[in-house]
Amino acid sequence: MEKDDLMLEQLANREYEFGFVTAIDMDISEIGLNEDTVRFISAKKNEPQWLLDWRMKGFKAFQKQEMPQWQNFKMPEIDFQSISYYAAPKQQAKYASLDEVDPELLRTFEKLGIPMSEQKHLAGVAVDVVFDSVSVTTTYKKHLNELGIIFCSISDAVKEHPELIQKYLGSVVPHTDNVFASLNTAVFSDGSFVYIPKGVRCPMELSTYFRINAENTGQFERTLIIADEDSYVSYLEGCTAPMRDENQLHAAVVELIAMKGAEIKYSTVQNWYPGDKEGKGGIFNFVTKRGACRGERAKISWTQVETGSAITWKYPSILLQGDYSSGEFYSVAVTNNMQIADTGTKIYHLGAHTKSRIISKGISAGKGQNSYRGLVQMGPKAAYARNFTQCDSLLIGDLCGAHTFPYIESKNNTATIEHEATTSKIGEDQVFYLNQRGIDAEQAIALIVNGYAKDVLNQLPMEFAVEAQKLLSLTLEGSVG
């Protein structure tokens, strides 16, 4: 028992590695939110009228919405008027090559371990970086262009591919969807846009790194990925933020559209600042992610490794519209200290013979609370649809919590749903066994946790699996004496 106590104490003492602040001149909007803020952002980005109109609709919807009430924790009040809704590095973010980028910014990326320079070990990853609100640079653009792949910031896409944006933006997550999605619609600053043409298999992982740097700002990026018929893309996002005493808000929207026969694989390694061990500061990560399998045999797969943020509230969802389309959700969520993660997925089986698979692994340590909240819905036309869900919780220490709230709904008698959930703790006998083979307790826990999360980590592209594994071990670093 003593060992556990010590383990917990050390676990709680772990520090956030990415908590540095970058000293860069920033262009920041005034604090507060009203119609003028929305106009200000739209004007800053030289947007067309239709986009401003849409933002306004989002803002009106936001004003009418209420905060969600489903959580089993006390939600702190969020003062939407104390946030600045736009922050960008002052230096104009248009670079012909990496040499022109503010060296301070490059050092930041280096600290984050992002493969900015093209000769770095993660060669083969095209990166779009969103720094506070603005997309800073996209590497590999030329090579992708040759294949007809569009990978750019949403702002550029608005200018260069307005027909795609007008057609698809908000088509999966409408501006009225929920309070945070409405807010995002009103004030989204930037984000990534991907279009994969028919029959093209994107030859490299596309990747975005998000970072909140400025104080009192929120980050509201918007990602839109369209995979046209029979195409394939794997997309990765990573995120970090500096340590601040105040809570900062991150309310992103991600929309995925997979046409007939297309496949989108979306992986997230989320490591926003979680706050200190008393729960002071940290990011509120309220993200709306949804994908639509619009055509037959389309496939969308979400993989997420959630280790950061003070509060995470996100349910990457999949609409399985096309017959024989399939969806997957793989998640590892770790909460430590005072962190709260309330995450899961919603899968709507609309078409016949649709398939889905959900693997969720929650790990709670310290006073962390981890909830799986999910929905599997079989619509009346979802003949012979199948779902399998496995959600497991691992508890480290007796002050944390693990919760499961699955909604299982079926309106079709040929559909099959299977749901299993278990809760367990790291066994003292497992730790002792590894000790006896010369492995210290800290490493033993890292091994056990990584083993426990393996089904999910295996879904990540190789380089990121290694990173995620490191991150998990780091989260539980110093866990045993």
Binding site: F432, R437, G451
Partner: protein, 257 residues
């Protein structure tokens, strides 16, 4: 190599080892026998450093180092290997990855250079062959879904890989059929050398037909009440433990008078 002096240990306030004395030299094989509940597995656990045991008296030395001061993993790195009576299952942790981690920790502790991936694989193959351990098991999750026999053989495979000085086999023979027992014993015999030592904890004399011990000890009620050579094991097989119990309790009652 191993020197146990007047070792007393409690578990949950109950005295379970009541003054154990044992000397094990390099190159020797000792068998410890005794009825259920006599303290055999407790002795193994205490030597490996299981934390729910409280040492109330006595000393344990391993090549001049105080074993009782060490954490379990340090004991392992110093060369104490416990083959568990009930090896645990750890889902998702591959056998090979686990062994690699263990071996690299042990090598660091012993100031040995790290093994390259190639060398490690080579060693794995050799040891697998040596102890007749199937390669497909080596790649599975640690003990997960293994049969009882496979788990025991995995213990011996790990023993071969980690090359300990002192191996304690806690009822490794229990639950093995005769073929599996032969394989496990052959493996252990191949691993015997002038530099290492084995302590075999067992219920059954049959193991000792395959691994011939230099000494046999009888543990009863937390103490070694008899020591001898392998003939003692035969005697136990023939007579059971009852006569020993009577003798022991007889002595006790005499002492009380």
């Amino acid at each position: 190599m191993l020197s146990i002096k007047n070792l007393h240990a409690n578990i949950e306030g109950k005295e379970i080892l009541k003054g154990i004395n044992l000397e094990v030299k390099a190159g020797e094989v000792h068998a410890i026998m005794g009825p259920n509940g006599s303290g055999k597995s407790s002795l193994a656990s205490v030597l490996a450093g299981r934390e729910n045991y409280e040492i109330t008296e006595g000393e344990v030395w391993l090549d001049g180092k105080n074993l009782l001061d060490m954490k379990p993993e340090v004991r392992a790195r110093e060369g104490v290997f416990l083959a568990f009576q009930y090896p645990v299952e750890i889902p998702g942790v591959s056998n090979i990855n686990f062994l690699r981690t263990a071996l690299s920790e042990i090598r660091i502790h012993r100031n040995l250079p790290p093994l390259s991936a190639k060398e490690f694989l080579k060693m794995t193959k050799e040891k697998q062959a040596l102890v007749e351990f199937e390669a497909k098991l080596a790649n599975r999750s640690l003990n997960q879904g293994f049969s009882g026999g496979e788990k025991k053989r995995n213990e011996v495979f790990q023993l071969a890989m980690l090359e300990p000085k002192l191996s304690i086999l806690d009822e490794t023979d229990s639950g093995l059929d005769i073929d599996a027992l032969r394989i496990v014993s052959n493996g252990i015999n191949k691993l015997r050398s002038a530099d290492n030592a084995f302590v075999l904890i067992t219920h059954y004399q049959r193991l000792l037909e395959y691994i011939v011990p230099d000494f046999v000890h009888v543990l009863y009620n937390g103490q070694i009440v008899r020591s001898g050579t392998k003939e003692l094991a035969l005697e136990l097989e023939e007579k059971g433990y009852d006569w020993l119990k009577e003798e022991f309790h007889g002595n006790e009652s005499i002492n009380k008078i």
